[in-house]
Symmetry: C2
């Protein structure tokens, strides 16, 4: 490769100054979230008791294509952005493909994942509006760690509800949050009504993102000067994550290529939307032919096997009703290691885009995801997060197809995070102790009916 460039960076003054709001460009706009009691479409004001006001306006903004990134947030982006766009020469060689594989390396954020892009924005708006405490939920802990640090940056106190099984299985992520000064509580806990109700019904409940969201929302509602923040699913989170794709667009230009295929793993949709939307803009406006592939776990297949329905975002039913591909808000996914992908629904923007066939979805089995992760680690030196392994597996599948057909397709995927805190998962995989998780159509049907 000697003369070929491996990594592409932007200068600090080239880092995008605006986020891209795909809602403004979408031909079919996302359907509105509904007030569960009145069934009326939500207005931003309806969300003010829970979220910072500016975030509520961003959530429902279908008008402004570009939303300025506040200077204070841009200043903090400089701490780790631009993240590199990397040509995966090592991976290409390992699978002997004619495809050109690129990845956007969000794992170099100090927190280890893309989550910081939105955490900084959310903490900033809270601070600006006079909030003192912020609260949230976290699964594997990537979002919780990002929010804990972002809170510290803007002088806020952070309280994080961590899904109990992750709290116990991934003690390092808890320690990271605590090192940044956050208060971390395993969920379900006895500190909220939602938590108590669940523990009364299921004393050994291992926790889920849906439950932890309920607890955090309840804390925000019942605590003065406290707002709730969310790490994915919502449209304003995906908005903040478009910094990934906007940078990648400029960096692909530096590389002299344009992606034929874009791949990201899929939990609630923020890292997928983050890398995809700025490129999808050219598909919507100029008819560019790019395939957008969301890679979800086979054990939590809301995009490939869920239904497009109005459903709650959380277990207790505290959130508005959202129009989304869902497995039902009481769906209990298997304990796969990709904790960040264990969520029952997809964000409203992505749900509409999938319905309108702007994008595709594939499901990846747990064992295939780790096989891909190990191959990537040995080829590129970076141990990927179990979540990101799903994107890598889907990328490898496409690259192998190129090998069969001889096509030199350009594939770009998002490396959403590193897996250094998830080594116990790799341990189990290498020892042969991991399994796949099959779901019958009956199980899915039953969970959706439950809504």
């Amino acid at each position: 490769m000697s003369n070929k460039q491996k990594r592409f960076f932007l200068q600090e003054n080239e880092i995008p100054t605006h986020w891209y709001n795909i809602q403004a460009d979408m031909i079919n706009k996302p359907m509105p979230p509904l007030n569960p009691k009145t069934k009326e479409p939500l207005k931003p004001e309806d969300l003010f008791p829970v979220f910072a006001e500016e975030l509520c306006r961003q959530e429902l903004n279908q008008k402004d294509t570009w939303i300025e990134i506040p200077e204070e947030v841009r200043d903090m982006y400089k701490y780790y952005r631009s993240t590199p766009l990397v040509r995966a020469y090592g991976l290409e060689k390992a699978i002997d493909t004619p495809a050109h594989i690129y990845f956007k390396n969000e794992s170099v954020s100090p927190i280890g994942s893309h989550k910081l892009n939105s955490a900084l924005a959310q903490a900033y708006y809270c601070k600006k509006e006079g909030v003192k405490n912020i609260t949230t939920e976290t699964g594997a802990g990537q979002w919780g760690a990002a929010l804990s640090y972002a809170a510290k940056v803007f002088g806020l106190e952070a309280a994080v509800y961590q899904v109990k099984i992750s709290y116990e299985q991934k003690p390092y992520r808890r320690s990271i949050m605590q090192t940044f000064g956050a208060q971390v509580t395993p969920s379900p806990s006895m500190s909220t009504r939602a938590g108590k109700d669940i523990l009364t019904k299921y004393p050994n409940h291992q926790g889920s993102l849906g439950t932890a969201i309920s607890e955090a929302i309840e804390l925000a509602r019942t605590t003065p000067n406290c707002k709730y923040t969310l790490g994915s699913v919502l449209s304003h989170v995906a908005l903040h994550q478009t910094i990934i794709g906007l940078e990648a667009e400029k960096q692909m230009e530096m590389a002299g290529e344009y992606p034929d295929i874009i791949v990201a793993c899929f939990g609630g949709g923020s890292n997928f939307g983050g890398i995809s939307f700025p490129f999808m803009r050219h598909t919507i406006l100029e008819g560019k032919k790019t395939r957008f592939i969301a890679a979800e776990p086979a054990s939590c297949p809301k995009l490939t096997r869920g239904k497009f329905i109005y459903d709650f975002g959380d277990e207790a039913g505290y959130t508005p009703l959202l129009p989304m591909y869902s497995l039902g808000h009481n769906f209990a996914p298997a304990n796969i290691h990709a904790g960040g992908l264990r969520y029952h629904g997809a964000g409203v923007i992505v749900s509409q885009l999938l319905k309108d066939k702007y994008m595709e979805a594939v499901d990846i089995q747990q064992l295939d995801s780790f096989a891909a992760g190990c191959l990537f680690a040995r080829a590129e030196g970076i141990i990927p997060a179990p979540e990101s392994c799903h994107a890598i597996a889907a990328t490898i599948n496409e690259a192998k197809r190129c090998k069969e057909t001889g096509e030199e397709k350009v594939i770009l995927f998002n490396l959403s995070g590193h897996g250094l805190i998830d080594m116990s998962a790799y341990d189990q995989y290498l020892a042969g102790d991991l399994t796949n998780h099959a779901l019958t159509d009956d199980e899915i049907e039953k969970s959706i009916e439950n809504i």
Copy 2:
């Protein structure tokens, strides 16, 4: 900071093409290593049975100022280099100092530390000379992880002896090595004579770097087509690490400043030498006034309280006799979390430079190191390795002095690695469970007499 640049990168074609060999410029050359039996100065050929031949020549090269980095190694450097030079605005603000603090962020290497710079070089030379297996020791596992990946890159098998207490306390690092396909054995083990001897004498021996080195050397000597590699102490390792300082020199120029003080933590000297030597060149040749500060742990104070003597590099006495500041090769340091700094001696180049007063050394207590690490994490978002915390503590001390005097000194330190795999250490620190480790003069005197 809005208009001020936070991070400085080099383009790939600006990455240095040669390592800097300070031995060629030193006025008093390092004293020669001696054959322990004949007491004759070593020739490169004497080291051929253990190390790749080119590495032996580099080890004793006092003639060539610049040594070309092989193209294959430069190609792999592109996977993560240049590492950013970062202006620590957050830290400056947190301690309210007029000093300008910069750090070279080696933690963004895929392995999480600077160790990869030499691992790639050593694995490359082994491969080039037809070696099939490489072996080494590791403490905390930073070096072992780097070598495991480097071996995979160049198609070699790697066997790593990991200090037993680290093997048990830091299972994630072991997993990382195994994910890269290395064979990892806790040391002391029953697989070598050196290991057996120690276990017979001390059945509960927790391991030390000195012991693990003995085991790895023995394996290399008794296995066909197998060479030993070392992660610090030796002159060729520091040579490879000069890529850090050479990049930093160009990046400081981009920032329009020149360091008044350079700080690095100190185990065997490779990260210290790596960032210091290229700048020290200007001190030796042009009389530039820069202070070079090595920050060592108070519990393993070879530079501040050791003696300049001829000593072995390992526990069993397999190595040549090296002229170095040492606490004695049987010195058993306390179980501090900065496993990479638990080594009894200093490399021969650094030892000579300290003797000749080109540099200084300070000792840092364990509690002060973690206090500095937490302050840095909250200010800059990066959780530093326990080793790097020592450099940060020394930097903060200097910056606070600037606050007293009002001087706008420029301080550059090396962030040698991140601490994401060491969170249990932070846990213990935050819980108040860590202590300092005092050493009496008597204890040190006795350990040195033992040689």
